[in-house]
Amino acid sequence: MELELDLSFFYKTTILPECVLIFCLISILILDLILKIKDKNVFFFISLVSLLLSIFILIFQLKEEPVISFLGNFQADNFNKIFRIFIALCSILCIPLSIDFIKCTKLAITEFLIFLLTATIGGMFLCGANDLITIFVSLECLSLCSYLLSGYTKKDVRSNEAVMKYLLIGGTSSSILAYGFSWLYGLSGGEFQLQKIADGLVSTEMYNSFGSLLALVFIIVGIGFKLSLVPFHQWTPDVYEGSPTPVVAFLSVASKIAGLALLVRLFNIVFPFLPNQWHSLLEISAICSMILGNLVAITQTSMKRMLAYSSISQIGYLMIGLVTGNFDGYTSMIVYLLFYIFMNLGTFACIILFGLRTGTDNIRDYSGLILKDPLLTFSLALCLLSLGGIPPLSGFFGKLYLFWCAWKTGLYFLVFIGLFTSVISIYYYLKIIKLLITTENKEVTSYVQSYTVSSFSLLSKNSIEVSIIICVIASIFLGIFMNPIINILQINLHLNTFTNI
């Protein structure tokens, strides 16, 4: 027993970033309870600082050797660390978005921050989870906070509907996932660490059996619901439409990052014997996601529903990198994920700002926005174009690298579908931009007329505008610095356990 104690204390720095966040969360809770602080901005400041701190710790830890700590519960290699950095980055960008939203809707601020931070912690644990129990527990941590966040505006009927649907679908998918895990546990002879499951499957000679295929299918279904891959995507538009917009911005990015990390690790470690099966299953769902997401997005009238379908198609593009399955494929997936964070959060930031000032999220009501606020129009247009993949912007470079890697490994059909659907996506993004810019029809909608712009001095910028500017700059210029990014990623991923197959 002595030995185990020593080991678990020796590896405590592996979860130091999460511990920083937990400490921040508890301190926010206690400070809010004890002190009667009127100015709640202190809490935003505390949480932003702690998120930044945890990102810095992670970046410093990138040099360390991969370790499996807590007797196999938690693995800290560079792949996980990059994904954990991404999740913390999303919450850093999402917290400024939610400040003004919460102030306008007069909701409780502290609890919102606590839910957001707990979701971040859950996602970060999920990225590094190395056994089935940790995966399940941290997934539940992430999804419970997501349910609570999406039902946060409790007076809004649409939000109630959204959270009800999300809760039921999420519960179903979790139980399906747990069922798949129980198959793995049984087939491997009672192991639950990922690497030991793979060994156990070999030793029980069940690695190629029908049972492990069944477990694979159940796990894909379970994670597919979380990632909103196409056969399991039906909840996405409703939940996105009903939930508060900053929450949607967080969910659309953070849950996808965590889910992708889980998918890559789980399949590469546990199912190395069935590569064809899981590759082909994911390929089918990637193709369906790209086609259906982009085609249905054309017909949407609500901006948030349109972005929901757009995010379904984006997860299809990310799946291409996963299906490619080699070192370059994973690198391209991570690069595109990084770009996707900035593009998507930038778009959502613009929508939140517009929604706060006018109170609508209909696409029709955006027409002629350029007359009132050229800056917002410009940023929204840039983010949308970047999502669509127009050449000088970073979305283009991300997609290019993704398609190129897939082409090299011979996934011609997938690349063709990806290219074809990108064209469709550019069509509906351009339709919105045309609506924004055209000033031909003089009758500007009443919503845009009621739009009031804050003064243009830099000091009075509110927090949403700050994160819009960050996202727009990132989604323009990151693509140009893509080669250094890829180099850094490849150097860091080199130490990894499974990507150098």
């Binding site: 104690l5 609890e111 859950g122 644990f125 419970l144 069940m206």
Partner: protein, 201 residues
């Protein structure tokens, strides 16, 4: 062995009755009976602490909560057993699929009558009870929770914290218009001061 059969058969019968009972209150009561029998099974396995926890958590908290919810919702009994056979096709198919999945694992190790070709050598398991004979359940649990499964303990405690806060946030309606009685303030009011104030006016 006799106790095992008694407990498990009563549990099975009452779990069927949970679904078939016409009155939802009866259904919840049968549910509690299932929990009692299952905890009896746990005691037979030697897991006394878990059996007690099972009773306290499920019967004490969750099932009684269900009972309250059912009683408060006032569901009409006639509506429920209207369409008994409506869901039979879908439910039957799913049930048959699950039953078939069980038969992938079950072979003559469990049921001696079944003919099977699968070898049973892969079912290796460790009898943990033999390894930790000197420890009670509680000691083992404590030792494992605070050392090996420390991360799990941390994350699940976070889940519980968030669930508690979330339940409070979602259900609390704090309206400012309604006049409330603030007990502490009312108790702290000084008689003389109150009278004085009115005299001043």
């Amino acid at each position: 062995m006799i106790l095992f059969s008694v407990f498990s058969s009563i549990a099975l019968v009452s779990s069927v009755m949970v679904i078939r009972a016409k009155n939802p209150v009866h259904s919840v009561l049968f549910f509690i009976l299932v929990f009692f029998n299952t905890s009896g099974l746990l005691v037979l396995l030697g897991l006394d602490f878990f059996a007690m926890i099972f009773l306290v958590v499920y019967v004490g908290a969750i099932a009684v909560l269900f009972l309250f919810v059912v009683m408060m919702l006032n569901i009409k009994i006639a509506e429920i057993h209207e369409n008994v056979l409506r869901y039979l096709p879908v439910g039957g198919i799913i049930g048959v699929i699950f039953l078939l999945e069980i038969f992938f694992i079950v072979d003559n190790d469990y049921i001696p009558i079944l003919p099977t070709k699968l070898s049973t050598t892969y079912l290796t398991y460790t009898v943990y009870a033999e390894k930790i004979q000197s420890w009670t359940n509680l000691e083992t649990l404590g030792n494992l929770l605070y050392t090996t499964y420390f991360v799990l303990f941390l994350v699940s405690s976070l889940i519980l914290l968030v669930a508690m806060i979330g339940a409070i946030v979602l259900t609390m309606h704090k309206t400012t218009q309604v006049k409330r009685q603030d007990v502490f303030r009312q108790n702290a009011i000084d008689f003389k001061n109150t009278i004085k104030k009115i005299r001043d006016i």
